[in-house]
Symmetry: C2
Subunit: 277 residues, 2 copies
């Protein structure tokens, strides 16, 4: 069975999503410290595939995922999956909420729980960690009564108790993950295709031209993200998801038309679309 | 003279940008712990204006800025400015690079210096901080020989030495900041206007319609960002910068047309455009 890399350390939302959806398809689950390193490990052949978050319903796109797929690898998207994000306030067994002297988490997690923290822990120090799992790890090894915002899985892995569930400010909080690898996926009838469009020059009509090629063939756009080209401030490329498989006639025709008008069209392949809860 | 809030603690890139460009226009510079809190302080009238980063040439948009302006305030953009981002590796006086046991910084700064850190400090622990200025503060108070990635200003403020300059992986690294407040700006002839578009429903043609209203009047789009509505994964609103002032005839006509087709059009006002270096 093949191996898969994920954003570690063990206990991250990426591992939780992997365990809940795909773990039985892989013989080895290998943690990497960053999203970029997961994808570079697949590119280098260290693992067969990698699972990385690409988009969250609150925070939006995961820039490191999009930029690495665009600039640093030539991988395909093999699958997508959607997993709920729910933060737990966790601490060492016996520690009560009113004792907490500090709360540790990734800045994105503390941002997602900002209102909760302001209301319940107004004076408590917020300490940053490189991931929610690292936060759990830090708290489990600390002599102080500290809390972490982390996953249920991380609480279990690091021997912590859950003090409170669902402490995020927005109730609906979903993350979409992709599995990146080298295997092109066959047509299923409900597919998505991801394309990266570098326009000829930054002029008013460029994005309009791209959208016209899609709309004129009744191809639905499910995501569009503008990202900096990293060359000049205000110069963008577009990361686009469309409905359909690149073997579908209308999609193939749109892709051919786009290749003709763009400076570069990079295809990340077609893969089965999952329904968003 | 009016007061202005900025993302603190003292020594952040926001303060550096403010000091370099606008400090003489304000009587009081007030630090806040997050971008959101800067904007909410302006909304609440605690300060007259606030300066916040909105876009970086490597990382792209600052989501907290865009989402707070969209969902939590009714402020106007009064000005924009562009400031170079350059990370310094700093440490307490006398500490040499080869002694460093850990390097502290905000996860975004460590991401921007990933190649440099891999090459020069492969085994060194990376510790997260809530800002580059907090990283400098931590290192200045530590007994260990630790380094921080921070600004020149932070090194000065916290009594640290600069071990190396310009350690970021991409040489061109610019951040665009905006000043948010309550004062509408008059037409100068080289202006920008920022609009937030909530579409009627998530259907293929919506974004195309918006762009057509602009392009048909030869209005240049300088930025477009899709952001999640925070309701359902895959539902977006659009944050758009266009060239021109809302008092210009063609811009006024386009805005009237957009108001007719959108679920909601929120205007963040018009302000003088600065040239991007």
């Amino acid at each position: 069975m093949p191996s898969i890399g994920y954003l570690g350390p063990p206990g991250t939302f990426s591992e939780e999503a992997l365990q809940a959806n795909l773990a039985d398809r892989f013989s080895a689950l290998v943690p990497y410290p960053t999203v970029t390193q997961v994808l570079l490990a697949v590119q280098a052949g260290e693992v067969d595939s990698g699972i990385v978050p690409i988009e969250n319903s609150i925070e939006g796109s995961v820039n490191a995922t999009i930029d690495t797929l665009t600039f640093e690898t030539d991988l395909l998207i093999e699958a997508e999956l959607v997993h709920p994000v729910s933060h737990r306030l966790v601490a060492r067994p016996g520690v009560r909420p009113e004792q907490l002297t500090a709360i540790v988490s990734h800045p994105q997690a503390t941002a997602q729980c900002r209102r909760y923290l302001n209301e319940h822990f107004p004076g408590v120090t917020i300490i940053a960690a490189n991931s929610t799992a690292e936060a759990a790890q830090i708290v489990s090894g600390s002599d102080e009564p500290e809390g972490a915002l982390a996953t249920e899985l991380a609480a279990k892995l690091y021997g912590l108790d859950v003090l409170e569930r669902d402490v995020e400010d927005y109730e609906y909080n979903m993350t979409r993950f992709i599995v990146a690898g080298r295997t092109a996926q066959p047509r299923t009838g409900t597919d998505k295709t991801t394309l990266i469009c570098f326009i000829q020059e930054n002029r008013p009509g460029s994005l309009l031209e791209i959208l016209t090629e899609l709309a004129s063939r009744s191809i639905n756009l499910t995501k569009i993200e503008s990202r900096p080209t990293k060359k000049v401030l205000g110069e963008y490329y577009f990361f686009i998801d469309i409905e359909g498989h690149q073997d579908d006639d209308d999609v193939a025709a749109a892709l051919a038309a786009l290749a003709g008008i763009l400076r570069e069209l990079k295809l990340l392949g077609s893969y089965p679309a999952v329904e968003v809860p």
